[in-house]
Assembly symmetry: C2
Homo-oligomer: 679 residues x 2
């Protein structure tokens, strides 16, 4: 079963021969065209061939401190290379709009390539992802001229400090204060309590020397809510913390251990008045507060971050399914038929059921992220015309999509990791650290339950509008159609049209149920807030159903209108159907209640699912091959292109420092004295 | 909100005042009586007060190698203390039966206490958990006399080597060979391929000097299948690997990084004939193979291990929910009502929905583990009378129970970890390493999908028996009752009787569906093996439903017959109902299809669930307090008894070595030169 040194595993060779479509065609489709594929591969080559990024000893064997030191070395080298890059250098991207700059950085270094170089987080990442966009989005023209130039050139390193030890989601509750002193024209930053300490910002611990700090602004004896301030944290020469700055890292985490997440306390730290970012609101020299009505740009950054998260989730999951699928083609296990050789585990129906819906999820996330990005651009141009109508809709869609992409990705990564058996538990498989990155996203940039409840608030409002006969915006137009879902049942058909309709009927049914139960509670004498809270399990479920419905719809729509060869089209349609039927069967109770599905139809759906697994099985390796993920990005003995799983697992084990000596000193120090004493 | 140094957090004080039952009564119930509680607390004090177990620097900051060295030091000290223990010393437990010995060790050091001392695994654990029981279970009287004595006294350290790099679940596929050479009366052990290398055994890497090795026995030119052999791995004096032994650790893992999991290859290693464990089968001096019919004791060890796993899962989950529940009482977040103070997150319905069903799961697992252990003892005494009738039933129950307890525990730990927001991502919260321990159990000792399919095989057989009118053994008797589940529907009632019946109707319905679909495939011309494989998604679902039904039934039965005070009884009944209704609603499609639940009843069930959450909310802290988990075992700033969450989080961060210096050397080495070059 094991291939010769250097040769490709024979099972993988066969899988690739049996693939029914052109994998390169799919690669180009996913990259956005052949030129983009080539550009990506050049970029990967430029970075990944650099020996400075290779670890002699894998990071997981080093101490926490050593890991940090290596990550600083690599991050500096990475940004140096970015500055020196022959094509696509940073020079063209020094000007706002922020989103396009940030997206360009993202494209160059984010997601998969970045995580190949710094598998467990980049201590300089927030400089680009948050510090620069905030300067650009919230600074005045003068502030941008000075600070953005210093930041772009990497003369200074910044981060973004908002979350506090005692305050996350609810930013109005932040405790850090910035009190204006007109006598010196300075703001005084202070942490009144321990829970006011900033906690979590990446790079804050020991890396950044500046930060945008979000604090409650006090001037002329009045609090004006939270505002952003540029604060110098460390001396530019010595890197010593500035006076009054209490700073360090928050400690080891489940993952992302080289992001250097930090804490930050203020003891009456004075900064010049000019360090308040004043694009929107201002404090004049005498302390007068001047409020601006617009906060559009802040909104844009948030939207951008959520789209990036959905793209990241698709990337991480594509990595995980590539690893698990190739491994499942190489791994043989058990006896299916007496006396026959052990089959590839990919031939087990239960294994297909773990892998193929997870592969389909990658496409679902990619297509949804593309769609919401297009929607954002449309809404954005409407905004420029002063039309704010679709802003709440966009907000509602981005909230639930972020929640579903992150939680789906986290479940799927664990499902496919467990599908690799014990070997998926090895750090070298790269699946554990992928999970660490993915599960973190369920919490950051809006905790998922909180986000789903934000979408629910929008749904409850639009439901009332639907009931009063108003015509709704596109993403909720189904509430007009199905506002009375107790319509005469039609016959169920195993077609995508019927399925899409059913998903929307379920969403409408659950929105309606939540709305009615909330009303019932309000009529029973509860305050609206209590009624909301008591109904919140159903509100979360309604948001989830709403989001699932449009992911399903966009997936099916996208693959049906994509201009590709017929063999590829067939595979993409099977993927979309699998995604839909999988989620339908996993929530069949809702469909039995709210759609025209009846119990007698369920067997047929199960069969449809199984037939899709059978059809997709021969293309499983081909599909993950199309993701075209460089071996150095996969970074997994289970997932490498050549399928030399066992040889690579063994080679990885040899990198453990414990294996460099036949006898560890603990034997002589502890064990031998103990064993001898028992003789 | 933050308490004075040393005082208990005021929210927790209030929660404890509002608890409606006597927490000590529940503690005694869970421990098995007041005397056992006292014994446990003495034992905890004896071990946990020892300064040798305290880490100056938390293990997560050390290198992999340093972590191993500390774990050997601690493990030796732990076993030394065990030998010197005033009460309950090892002396009384040197004789078989293996199960009672192993259980005693388990009781003394397993689960929670062991994981408090060695949070990420014990490199000596397999010596007690597998090496000793195997010697006792499979050795002849002479072999026991010699080897057990050496092992009990800890003159030697052993492990158990079965799994290979290329072979896990399917042990008949193991490749390691043991070929008998009558000319020297030795076995020759050999690894014919890389995939034949032993891979995974705990302590194998650098700790054990002996192992029981499972290998294919060849004698007189014939293979007799797998058998156990005692092999010396390392010299007792020098600890150097013995000739022909290729040995080391397999590398870093998602968790359990101090268990020292190892690999082991053989190059024609010779061992005396007497080193084959011959209680069951023998090889005579001339090479004649003598087979024994009995393998009862092997069976006992396996059963014991599965019960222990279920108990462990309950323990780990009780730790996780204690941490998350206390944190949720201390943490305040967001505005429920405009202008009102931020409420405790425990007051959010969605938070209750994450915590309380997870707390209920702890009880469900404990009670099911107790029940299966009683069943094992009954079946065991029947076996002594030669009655093997209930053996398959016991096997079927133990397989699916192990699968559900581990996968439920893994999901629940992640749900409550995520319910702690960002702070649950901190290693110091102890939730990440708890997940690492729990998710590992989904794979080891029988991969969950494989185990569920084993139960399914039993269910398919009993289904045929039910259909042919045979009376079935107790755990599957419901198949007799509901073999035709299209019975006239009765009216649904929100009562536990109706609920239990519905769970069994669902199980029967799913068993029947899987059986019929398999038959349909066989009739269509498929081989039985292919039909089995094609139906396996539904077979897994049938096993799961079967297992869930009896967990629900045993939970409700246990709490209704437990002799406790009325206030405690009320809480236990609410827990059991919550568990049942939670799982019912999460699978409501099955209930709509197979039980007398109709769509109109679902709202009522949702309300029942919500009312249970409301009733249990005031007792949430009281219930987890009753688990009575020592602060050193919880080992979490989020979960300590005093609720000083933020102070403790900050104190933990101060233990990071990176925080011992204001400026890390990487600034001068890498960052400053880079930043300067950009000026």
């Amino acid at each position: 079963m094991v291939s010769e040194n250097g040769a490709v595993n024979e099972d993988l060779v066969k899988e690739r021969q049996n693939c029914s479509f052109n994998t390169l065609e799919l690669t180009h489709l996913l990259d956005g065209g052949e030129a983009k594929t080539l550009e990506r591969k050049e970029r990967e080559e430029y970075f990944l061939s650099d020996p400075a990024f290779k670890d002699e000893v894998p990071m997981e064997y080093l101490s926490h401190q050593e890991q940090y030191e290596h990550s600083v070395r690599k991050a500096c080298h990475m940004f140096r290379k970015l500055q020196e890059m022959p094509h696509g250098s940073m020079d063209n991207f020094r000007e706002p709009p922020v989103e396009s700059v940030a997206q360009r950085i993202k494209q160059l270094l984010g997601g998969m390539l970045g995580s190949a170089i710094l598998k467990d987080g980049n201590p300089l990442a927030l400089h680009y992802v948050m510090f620069l966009p905030t300067l650009a989005g919230q600074g005045t023209v003068e502030q941008q001229a000075y600070w953005i130039s210093r930041a772009w050139n990497l003369e200074i390193v910044g981060t973004y400090a908002q979350t506090e030890l005692g305050h996350g989601t609810f930013i109005r509750g932040l405790e850090t204060t910035a009190t204006y002193d007109p006598s010196t024209q300075e703001f005084v930053l202070n942490s009144p309590t321990l829970t006011a300490y900033k906690w979590w910002p990446g790079g804050l611990g020991h890396t950044a020397n500046y930060a945008v700090v979000v604090a409650q602004l006090y001037t002329q004896g009045k609090c004006h809510g939270i505002h952003p301030f540029i604060v110098q944290l460390r001396d530019e020469e010595t890197h010593m913390p500035m006076p009054g700055i209490i700073i360090g890292e928050i400690g080891a985490k489940l993952g992302m251990n080289t992001t250097n997440n930090g804490y930050l306390g203020f003891k009456q730290v004075r900064i010049p008045r000019e360090n308040m970012l004043m694009k929107n609101n201002k404090v004049l020299e005498d302390g007068t507060y001047v409020k601006s009505p617009s906060d559009k740009l802040t909104y844009g950054t948030m939207m951008f971050v959520r789209v990036v998260i959905c793209q990241d989730m698709a990337s991480y999951l594509s990595k995980a399914v590539t690893i698990a699928t190739r491994y499942s083609a190489v791994r043989h296990q058990s006896e299916m038929k007496p006396g026959a050789p052990e089959p590839q585990v990919l031939d087990y129906r239960t294994q297909q059921y773990k892998l193929l819906p997870s592969i389909a999820s990658v496409f679902a996330m990619k297509f949804s992220a593309n769609w919401i990005w297009e929607m954002y651009n449309v809404v954005n141009s409407e905004l420029d015309q002063g039309d704010l109508e679709r802003l709440p809709e966009l907000h509602a869609v981005s909230c639930c999509l972020k929640a579903l992409c992150t939680s789906d990705a986290a479940s799927a990564v664990e499902i496919v990791r467990l599908a690799c058996g014990g070997h998926g538990y090895m750090k070298s498989s790269n699946l554990p650290s992928t999970y660490g990155l993915v599960t973190a996203a369920c919490t950051y940039e809006g905790e998922n339950t909180v986000l789903l409840l934000q979408t629910a608030r929008y749904l409850m409002k639009t439901w009332q509008q639907a009931r009063s006969g108003q015509t709704l915006t596109p993403s909720v137009a189904y509430l007009n159609l199905y506002s009375d879902w107790r319509q005469p049942r039609t016959v169920w058909e195993n077609t995508t049209d019927c399925v899409i309709k059913a998903f929307y009927q379920v969403a409408a049914g659950k929105v309606k149920a939540a709305a009615e139960h909330m009303e019932r509670r309000a009529k029973g004498g509860m305050t609206p807030e209590d009624a909301w809270n008591e109904t919140s399990i159903e509100l979360v479920a309604a948001s989830t159903a709403h989001c699932r419905a449009f992911i399903v719809e966009k997936f099916i729509e996208t693959v049906s209108k994509t201009d590709v060869s017929r063999p590829l089209q067939a595979v993409l349609c099977q993927m979309a159907e699998l995604y839909a039927v999988y989620w339908l069967l996993n929530n069949k109770g809702d469909f039995l209640m709210f759609s025209n599905l009846s119990p007698a139809d369920v067997d047929g759906l199960q069969l449809w699912l199984e037939q899709l697994l059978t059809k997709l099985r021969p293309n499983a390796v081909g599909i993950v091959d199309s993701f075209d993920i460089h071996d150095d990005i996969l970074a997994s003995p289970l997932g490498a292109w050549d399928g030399r799983v066992y040889e690579r697992l063994f080679e990885e084990s040899q990198k453990s420092p414990l294996n460099k000596e036949p006898v560890n000193k603990s034997f002589h120090e502890y064990m031998k004295p103990f064993l001898r004493s028992n003789l």
